[in-house]
């Protein structure tokens, strides 16, 4: 009996250290990939971009697991500062657009240059990247990233031109978190984004997320509200 207790107590810690190890392994893997890539100065096989895309996705998921573990263990807090929203969106476009171009998807960022936002920019960039990755799976050819001030919140929108969220999902986002094992959607991404949103607070206002089908492009729209 004592054995099973020990296992139960240690499992989260073991999970976390394993995830950490996987991240290191992944970063070696990426390095090897880019070494291979450098052997093709011209006519790079398109598989490299796919490798980059998949390893980015894997890295994002591992990072999210690790962050969520640290939040549980009180080893994490958001580090809030004032950032230019334009800079945050540019960062995401820099990270994603060449990968998306591969699947012939266009990523457009629109926002006012003098929009500023109090947030943990690393976490918010990761959250939005995850959402862009999600949108990429359901869109046809275009993803629109935008942000604006809405009363006491800065809202980031991720919109696509796909079929939109299914009705049962919109009815109860909290419950589903998009879990759909058939498409490989584990719900981790949404859970992560919602958790990070909630860790942003200003006075008694908390950050939150919203999903609807009011996309300017006709598909799904995800909104991330930060106070």
């Amino acid at each position: 009996m004592s054995d099973s207790t020990t296992t139960a107590v240690h499992f989260p810690a073991i999970l976390a250290s394993s995830v950490h190890d996987m991240k290191n392994s992944l970063s070696n893997l990426r390095a090897l990939i880019s070494q291979l890539e450098s052997r093709y100065p011209d006519n790079k096989p398109p598989e490299f971009k796919l490798l980059e895309f998949e390893s980015n996705r894997l890295n994002n998921s591992l990072m999210q697991l690790l962050t969520l573990y640290k939040i549980e263990a009180s080893q994490f807090n958001v580090s809030i500062d004032e950032y230019s929203v334009r800079d945050i969106l540019d960062e995401i476009v820099a990270q994603q657009s060449s990968l998306l171009a591969l699947s012939k998807i266009e990523l457009v960022a629109e926002c006012n240059d003098d929009l500023y936002c109090f947030c943990d920019s690393t976490m918010i960039s990761n959250a939005i990247s995850t959402l862009v990755n999600n949108a990429q799976r359901y869109c046809r050819s275009k993803i629109l990233l935008s942000a604006k001030q809405e009363e006491d919140y800065v809202v980031f929108y991720i919109e696509d031109d796909g079929a939109g969220y299914p009705q049962h999902f919109l009815a109860d986002t909290q419950k589903y978190y998009g879990i759909d094992l058939a498409t490989g959607n584990t719900g981790l991404g949404l859970f992560f984004v919602a958790t990070i949103a909630k860790m942003h607070r200003n006075g008694d206002k908390l950050g939150f997320i919203k999903t609807d089908n009011d996309s300017h492009l006709g598909g799904a729209r995800f909104s991330l509200y930060l106070p």
């Binding site: 390893s55 080893q75 230019s84």
Partner: protein
Amino acid sequence: MLNLSPQKILIVEDQAVMRETLKHILYGMNAKQIIEAENGNNAIAAMIKTRFDIVLCDYNLGAGKNGQQVLEEARHLKLLPFSALFLLVTSEQNPAMVLSAVGNKPDDYLIKPFNGQQLLNRLERCFIRKSALADVESELDKGNLYQAITNCETLLAQHDKKIRMQLLKIRAELALKISDFKTAKAVYLDVLLERDLPWARLGLAIVAYSEGDYFDAIESLHELTEQFPMLLEAYDWLAKAYEATKNVDGAISAITQAIELSPHTILRQQQLALLADSVNSLDLANKAYKAAIKLGRNSVHKSSSDFSGLAKNLLKTKANSTVLNLVSELLEQFPDDPEARLRAAALETEIYRTLGKNELAQKSYEKTVKLNKQFGSEASRELRLEIAQTCFQRGNTEIFDQIMQELIKTNIDDKKFLESITRICTEMMNENYAESLIHRVKQELVDINNRGVSLFKEGKIKEALAVFEQAISNLPNNQTIVLNISKIMVHDLKTSGGDSEKIQKAQAYINKAIQLGIPHDKIGGLQAELARITHHQHHSR
């Protein structure tokens, strides 16, 4: 767009594959001058040879120094001009918190993985910020705090949102540095009115601590660490505040928490060791000394006192001759350091004495005396105190007297240190010894000041300056003398003018005064006058 071709770039990364990748990216962005280093030592060697504009340094560099330690050493050796960018590369998602070392932050963190475009964006953004803050940072680099403040105010008035928060933070920190607590508090409160930011709350707690409101500081720091467990600096200040209230256990628990969250900070381990030693927590001190010694192998903060601390700790628990190994280890780790040699000799004396090997103890003691004669005056005050005690134990009251007098003279304004001197002297002989010494030095100070001030009043500026300059070589850290000489120099400049050398000298004295902790309300006016004189001189040319 940023042009990388004139920039000298250093890549510090232990993995060859990653170095190749980075080089590939940078060459792709038109970089022309890239140097690589595969470990911390090579990085430092490269920086000694070349002044780089950009350093991309991985945090994890394998067995030797880590990236943070490379940064600390580079700053310590002044290998990074203020205009250079140092980016720490890490896969840590929350690097500013996890890797933070007190007062030594990189310009930015780059979180792996990143692609070329992301790297370029980041470099561009850093350079923009750097050049926006250049007027402040260049003055800070030269130690001109007041000019830095003036420039900071000018920039703040331009309302550039991109750097506004950073400027406010710098402004408040500068106010703290010149002991202008009122302004620091006002800036922090202003920021907090807009947003509940942890650094501003930490700042308020620092103000409370600096003004002596230790219990207020402790309360708000506790709140802060509960809400932001990764704000490591808050634990450091909490420990300081506890120490100020003589609650050593509180201080130990605060430092321990910070160490648990980030175990690799040598300064915290050293502090913990001293705290634990002071309350005779031998096990805890032992562990902390060992950790400090281990971390010290790769750190500029390594200290020979960690070895003697550990050795003395071991002498208390299991005295045997293996403790002598620490002496040779000490000498090995600090090959060209006279202070370390002196410390080793004193330590050896102590070890032999404890082990009852009197002949050997005497020999080591003679070596100590000899080294003390050669290097003693340059040693740290803690070591000097130790040597004075050793000499006293051996019956050499002459050296004891000499060291004590010098220590009192050079630390006459440091109440805490004088207290510990008095305590030691009382233990060894009688109460009156230290007190009469301190009294004598204070009387000497009063005499010098009276003489200097009356010469000044008689209009004998040159003679007054000579009196104070003479006094400074004898009593270098006395606030009153430094303040008086600053006053006379500024007055002299105002009435009879002077060249830029004279102005620089006056500025150096004012900077020294600030460094000694003379508060803003006493030195601010003088600095403003000097600034007017300088300004006037510039314009009349």
